[in-house]
């Protein structure tokens, strides 16, 4: 009987932790998705920096949640709970790499992502409730979370979908440079994924098709820009677009 109770306790502990991680993962997913939505506004607002600053704040909030995951996992088998938080982490990778691309026009590395997830435990009362700090020397060690290469890949694969959306929006808003940069960048990512091919987990191979479609849409957009731009010299094109942008701006009051 007492044996059964011990089982029950072990199962409950595991289950409760799992549920907490699922909850955290969901929160991370929602906040990351919101960050991505926010970042898409860079194509339509005048002040990009403001959007970036706001996204920074949001991502800081997400990082705090990831810290809570890291705290839950101290002394635990990461992979036993991996399924609980992998959706959230992938979405975070998507969001953070999207922000990085907008700022730097480059792919954030796994190392960089993981470096940003090393947390120095400075305040004791930040610890989440329900977590017993049984070993004292843990307070000195930094809490850190390690994104797995697979989660990184899956997040980056989804990033390409967002970049495709960014490209189409850019075209819609008369930005003629971003699409070309994006096609260059997406081709590199696509080539990278092609290189990995089916050596990775099945989920990664599965994304290759969507990735190719996204790349195709971006290539088509560049093609369209090139073809329609062929009718008028490029510097004039820029003029047309700035006039156009002003026109849209001034219209906004009317309707």
């Amino acid at each position: 009987m007492s044996k059964k109770e011990a089982f029950q306790q072990e199962l409950d502990t595991k289950h409760d932790k799992y549920e907490r991680l699922v909850k955290l993962s969901r929160d991370i997913t929602i906040e990351s998705k919101r960050t991505i939505f926010l970042l898409h506004r860079v194509t339509s607002v005048p002040d990009v920096e403001e959007v970036l600053a706001e996204s920074e704040d949001k991502l800081d909030g997400v990082k705090l949640k990831i810290k809570l995951i890291a705290l839950e996992l101290i002394g635990e088998d990461l992979y036993q709970y991996h399924r609980a938080f992998t959706p959230g982490i992938q979405e975070y990778v998507e969001a953070v790499s999207f922000q990085h691309f907008i700022k730097e026009r480059s792919l954030i590395s796994l190392e960089q992502i993981n470096k940003d997830l090393i947390f120095i435990e400075d305040k004791k009362n930040e610890e989440p409730e329900g977590l017993s700090s049984d070993s004292q020397d843990e307070k000195d060690k930094p809490v850190c979370f390690q994104v797995t290469p697979t989660d990184y890949l899956l997040g980056v694969a989804d990033l390409t979908g967002e970049l495709m959306r960014l490209c189409i929006s850019s075209v819609g808003n008369g930005d003629i440079d971003t699409p070309f940069e994006l096609s260059q960048f997406l081709r590199q990512v696509y080539d990278g994924f092609s290189y990995i091919g089916n050596t990775g987990p099945y989920e990664v191979s599965k994304k290759l098709y969507t990735l190719k479609q996204s790349l195709g849409k971006v290539e088509d957009a560049c093609y369209a820009l090139k073809v329609r731009g062929s009718e008028i010299p490029k510097h004039m094109l820029a003029d047309v677009f700035s006039t156009r942008a002003a026109l849209v701006e001034s219209d906004e009051g009317i309707s």
Binding site: I30, K33, R34, F37, H40, R41, S44, R165, I168, S169, V171, G172, N173, G174, A221, A224, R228, E231, I232, M236, L237, V240, F241, T243, R244, L247, V248, D251, E252, I254, S255
Partner: protein, 214 residues
Amino acid sequence: MSVNEMFSGIQGFLSADQDVREDIRKVVQGLEQTAREILTVLQSVHQASGFKDNEPLMRVFVLSLSLSLSLSRFHEHWRFVLQRLAFLAAFVVYLESETLVTREEVTQILGIEVNREKGFHLDIEDYLSGVLTMASELSRLAVNSVTAGDYSRPLRISNFINELDSGFRLLNLKNDPLRKRYDGLKYDVKKIEEVVYDLSIRGLAREPGSGGEE
């Protein structure tokens, strides 16, 4: 016998349900026919002659009044036709006033309840889906307006669609079919933008209101 009586009553319930499903099927069939006819009239907007007649709208109104289904659990059965009618209402309202129809207006036009407790209602998803269908119809309209020699309409459509797009950006869409349809909106935006560009580089774009046909 008591148990037997109980089961006789239950059989009655089950039969009634089946009858309701049958009724819905018939109403939906009629609505689909009406929707098709309205669309045919509306299609004339793509011709040079344009669209004038808003009489068909009335017919939806009348027809849907006959709906007294109060069971939201059969929603799946009329979801498709509702989205279709929402699209038509949105399209007519845009053509008449160049504004976005609200959900309340759609339900008034169709003669249905918004409040789901009161029966037949219009889900947000169905309303949004109808609005997205209209957006795609507007991108087609922008193209055909140019062919018909109306160079100001594309600019007005462009502004309207941009507003719609920034509205949708506020939504945190979970729902997969709707999200996918929303992605399509970006292509409509792009297409309309290309039309405006074509007009710009040829000096054909005019300030809406300043020149134009209207």
